[in-house]
Amino acid sequence: MAPKEPAPVPPGVQAVGGELSLGVDIHGLAALAGRLYGYVPPSEEVVEAIEQSVKKLVTDAGWKGDDANGFQDAWGEDASDAKKLSMFIDDVAHELDQLATSLSELQLAVNDRAGEFKDKAAAAKDDDPFASQNADNEAYRIWIDGFHQARKLQEECAKRLVGLYSGNGDGWSVMNTTKSLSDDKNLSKDLRDRLNHVEDELDDGLPDDDFDWTGFAGWVGGGAGIGAAIGAPFAGVGALPGAALGGLIGLGAGVVVGGGGWLVDQIDDWF
């Protein structure tokens, strides 16, 4: 069976870091989704090949008894985990695929709207000496809105990924399977250690019940990074390189409790 393909990234979606880029490697997200989709068919083929062999052994050849029963039980658990893991991989790929599509649409909308202002400014430059500056200001506001929306989309995707790996209430989850395999003495110590590490990491990613520390920490930690991202499209503004200008804004915003909405309002006031 041919693997699924992610939706193609439309032409016109610039590479990360390009003018008006929202700061996300949209092409990279789509490529990652494609890689994950590609793991599913060969995994399913392996499980199917083994299932055929087991069927031949216990049904056609008539292998019976305690050994046969124990073997069937053990393989049955692994087969179930392998099938569920393939479904999980497909779900994760789908989330990243959808995110790349949504961000592409957002990026193109930002490009189009900013482009409209620049076209109007170019047409009016003989009559209005400030046309170009005004167009830049509007393009900046549009970009900031887009940047904020892009972060929301990413945050929602992150929550859905956490929901996928922690389980959706049907009993199976990557977390539970990781834990049970880490107790399997048949596996090597190296694998069991890796499974324990993964279990701890997945647990760390679960949200707390009473306060969104993950979102808070992400915001504070991201201040300098956000600042650089804000500054980058406007490199050369005034006497300061754009990244340095953005870095000052980002560092200042980074210590504030709260989300992107505050930053957007404050920057509107500053500009």
Partner: protein
């Protein structure tokens, strides 16, 4: 030895081979490093992708290893059955020729 038992023995051996071969193949489908996380502007997404990729790689390795272990166990079962069958054959041959039966010492 009956033809039916021979079939079971051979099928156990064949299945052992399938498990080992397919287990190695399964292990190799997902590389240990699935790839770098694409640049994003939301750290919770970067963290979630990192965790998910590591989980996928580790679980694939673990299940692939488990498949190979099933293959090893089937081989062990096959060998044990053959050894038991050989012991029974020896015993039957002894019964057919009483002269070869040795009295137990101490009775």
């Amino acid at each position: 030895m009956s033809a039916e038992i021979n079939v079971v023995y051979q099928d156990i051996l064949d299945s052992s081979s399938v498990f080992k071969t397919q287990g190695v193949k399964y292990d190799g489908i997902v590389p240990k490093e699935v790839g770098t996380v694409p640049q994003v502007t939301e750290s919770s997404l970067s963290d979630a992708i990192t965790r998910v990729l590591e989980a996928i790689s580790t679980l694939h390795d673990s299940l692939g290893s488990s498949m190979q272990i099933h293959g090893d166990k089937l081989k062990t079962v096959h060998d044990r059955y053959r050894n038991t069958e050989d012991d029974i054959d020896d015993l039957m041959r002894s019964i057919d020729d009483p002269a070869t039966i040795q009295p137990r010492v101490g009775y």
